[in-house]
């Protein structure tokens, strides 16, 4: 399992940035630090997710990575 910090733009101005952090405590520290830096910023957010690999994140938390149109088209195959 690896820790992934996902930095995302709420209005999709920028592509999400994913940082892999191997140490769990370090991941929590960096999450809290990032949250503090982003406090009051309505356009950006950060979330910590734990998964085998980044592809799993993109499956279970696809809204950070895809537009509505892309989500529907993915479902359509």
């Amino acid at each position: 399992m690896s820790n992934f910090l996902v930095f995302y733009s709420r209005k999709r101005q920028e592509a999400p940035r994913v940082e892999r952090v191997d140490d769990s405590d370090e991941a929590v520290r960096r999450l809290l630090d990032a949250e503090r830096k982003l406090a009051g910023d309505p356009l950006h957010g950060v979330v910590l997710l734990v998964a085998e690999d980044e592809a799993d994140l993109r499956r279970t938390h696809s809204h950070y990575f895809s537009s509505v149109e892309e989500l529907v088209r993915q479902a359509a195959g």
Partner: protein, 246 residues
């Protein structure tokens, strides 16, 4: 031994007491209701309380992953994905305190994991695995909206477990159930709505409910409905719902 989590110090490995957590949560909620910012001390305590959940999250995820892998002999585990979220965001916690007028020390989904499965059969199998794995952890199904969906159209099953005095929530969704939820999350981000909790344009809420029903029909084997589902989705989501409301 003090330990540091980001800018937070938690002394002696001891979490804040339930009454400290409850009082801080109440003060945060009241501040937000008055239109004021919560105090730095209360936000700091919230961070400490959140961080206190992270170790049990890792334990939760390991146990869920192992239990599912072990059960792989009895059913097809292909396509089952487990992803954890150790700490719910402070914004989401505060919104929940205000929305539900709840107590911070009673929030059960600060730590959580999401399991996406390929179909309804796998969903039932994984649910049984999770309930069996956490027999010692007061595993409780707190939401079961698989068949009918809730009042907004959300479908999925949620189990809350208790590990070392801390709650964690496990969400189990099929791919199509997850698709609906991801679309709602994305729409909320795009449009600044809170459709997830029923706040947004009526037309969009109605479309989402209809879309959920279409997905349900497909999931229960209505092959003829696949085309209708996709046409509905494209009509709803590729023509921006916000524009259609105007």
């Amino acid at each position: 031994m003090p330990w540091e989590v980001g800018h937070v110090w938690l002394v002696g490995d001891k979490p804040p007491t339930p009454s400290q957590v409850k009082r801080a949560g109440d003060r945060i909620r009241r501040a937000v209701e008055r239109g004021e910012a919560p105090t730095a001390a209360d936000l700091r305590l919230l961070d400490v309380y959140r961080a206190w959940h992270s170790p049990i999250h890792y334990q939760l995820q390991l146990r869920v992953g192992s239990a599912i892998a072990d059960a792989g002999e009895s059913f097809d585990m292909a396509g089952v994905t487990v992803v954890g979220r150790p700490l719910k965001t402070p914004e989401a916690i505060i919104a929940k305190l205000v929305r539900e007028r709840g107590r911070l020390n009673r929030i059960q989904d600060i730590a959580g994991a999401r399991i996406v499965v390929p179909n309804l059969e796998a969903q039932e199998a994984v649910l049984r695995v999770v309930l069996d794995e956490f027999l010692d952890g007061e595993a409780t199904i707190v939401k079961d909206a698989r068949a009918e969906g809730d009042e907004l159209g959300y479908r999925g099953v949620h189990v809350v477990v208790l590990i070392e005095g801390r709650y964690a929530e496990i969400q189990i969704r099929t791919g199509l159930q997850g698709l609906w939820a991801q679309i709602v999350e994305r729409l909320d981000e795009d449009q600044g709505t809170d459709l997830k909790h029923g706040s947004g344009p009526e037309a969009t809420l109605k479309w989402l409910k209809e879309f959920s029903q279409r997905l349900t029909s497909v999931e229960y084997g209505d092959k003829a409905d696949v085309r209708t589902m996709l046409e509905t989705a494209l009509a709803i989501f590729l023509v921006r719902p916000k524009d259609t409301d105007e």
